[in-house]
């Protein structure tokens, strides 16, 4: 009985620590679709300048790239 309790405590701890991790989604389902308006955003660039969707857009539009990291 003691072993069973220990087993359940361990199991609960493992589940609590693991957190929800999703499966690899279909890339076609990610983010705004063709024809959709993308959300406004605001962030600081490498020069300390405030950048928004409006500052990024050129006369004919823009290429917006999401990348994993520049650090690893």
């Amino acid at each position: 009985m003691l072993m069973t309790r220990r087993f359940f405590v361990l199991l609960i701890l493992l589940v609590a620590c693991s957190g929800p991790i999703g499966a690899q989604p279909d890339p076609a389902t990610l983010g705004p679709r063709v024809g959709a308006q993308v959300p406004e955003f605001s962030g600081v660039d490498q020069f300390g300048r405030r950048q928004t969707l409006q500052t990024v857009l050129g006369a004919k539009g823009a290429m917006l790239v999401f990348f994993r990291s520049a650090d690893w």
Binding site: G43, Q46, V65
Partner: protein, 253 residues
């Protein structure tokens, strides 16, 4: 891209100092936008949900690229199943018809004129580039588009290479040709059109080892088609094509 009137920005979850170091090392002058906390990444629905919360890499996006019009509406989107693989900028712009493709060769057959080229003259493991054909059927000729018929569809058949994966070709909209004697309606191209075939140079360890000492790669294949006019259908044709592309190693920095 500036010449084309297009802005460019890249977004990651890194701190501004990290992005500055990265940009300085590579001479990057376009904006690298810091999204510490991943608010933009979440807002765009791109948070990588396969990463466990609380870990160093939590907050990264599924990598991808959007081409937006002047109003911020998505014109095209480019996501790959494997993060090591990415369309080249030139490939995206050529695919959108925004820029012409690089050095090209033009040849002529009895039925058409074809100008063939590639979006990039240099590739690296993980790069997805476009092989492009601008095809003009001769007067009165039509070529067959994908559809419900048994004619030879115009297509590029590539010779298989262990370091390369070919994607589905991209065709423009076709038109219906009505052949009255047989009351037959088929999907064809009669006007100039562009056929785009993307290929990815694989980034697997095996391929990197295979290409380690190479400074170029050669892609070979055949442009296959069948042409007909109002009276005659000609036998299926096969035009040999090849591209020699400079090869760079994978950027590991």
């Amino acid at each position: 891209m500036k010449r084309q009137g297009l802005g460019l920005a890249a977004i990651s979850y890194d701190a501004p100092e990290t992005l500055k170091k990265f940009a300085d090392a590579r001479g990057i002058t376009f904006p690298l936008i810091s999204d510490s906390g991943s608010a933009i990444i979440k807002q765009y629905g791109l948070l990588n949900t396969t990463v466990q919360a609380g870990t160093r890499t939590y907050g990264i996006p599924f990598p991808g690229t959007f081409i937006l019009d002047r109003a911020g509406v998505v014109r095209s989107r480019h996501f790959e199943a494997a993060y090591q693989e990415r369309s080249t900028v030139a490939s995206i712009l050529v695919g959108q018809g925004i820029t012409p493709f690089g050095p090209a060769t033009t040849s002529e057959t009895a039925h058409l004129t074809v100008t063939a080229g590639a979006s990039d003259d240099t590739v690296a493991p993980g790069k997805r580039l476009s092989l492009v054909f601008d095809i003009t059927p001769k007067r009165g000729m039509h070529l067959y588009a994908p559809g419900k018929h048994t004619y030879q569809v115009v297509r590029l058949t590539l010779d298989q290479q262990p370091w390369m994966r070919a994607h589905e070709p991209t065709y423009p909209a076709s038109e219906i040709y009505h052949f009255k004697p047989l009351n037959e309606r088929v999907e064809v191209f009669q006007k100039p059109f562009r056929l785009v075939q993307d290929v990815t140079v694989l980034a697997t360890p095996e391929v990197q080892k295979l290409l380690a000492k190479e400074t170029s790669v050669i892609i070979t294949g055949r442009l296959e088609y069948q042409a007909c006019d109002d009276k005659l259908c000609y036998s299926p044709q096969s035009v040999p094509v090849s591209w020699t592309l400079a090869l760079k190693p994978l950027d590991r920095q």
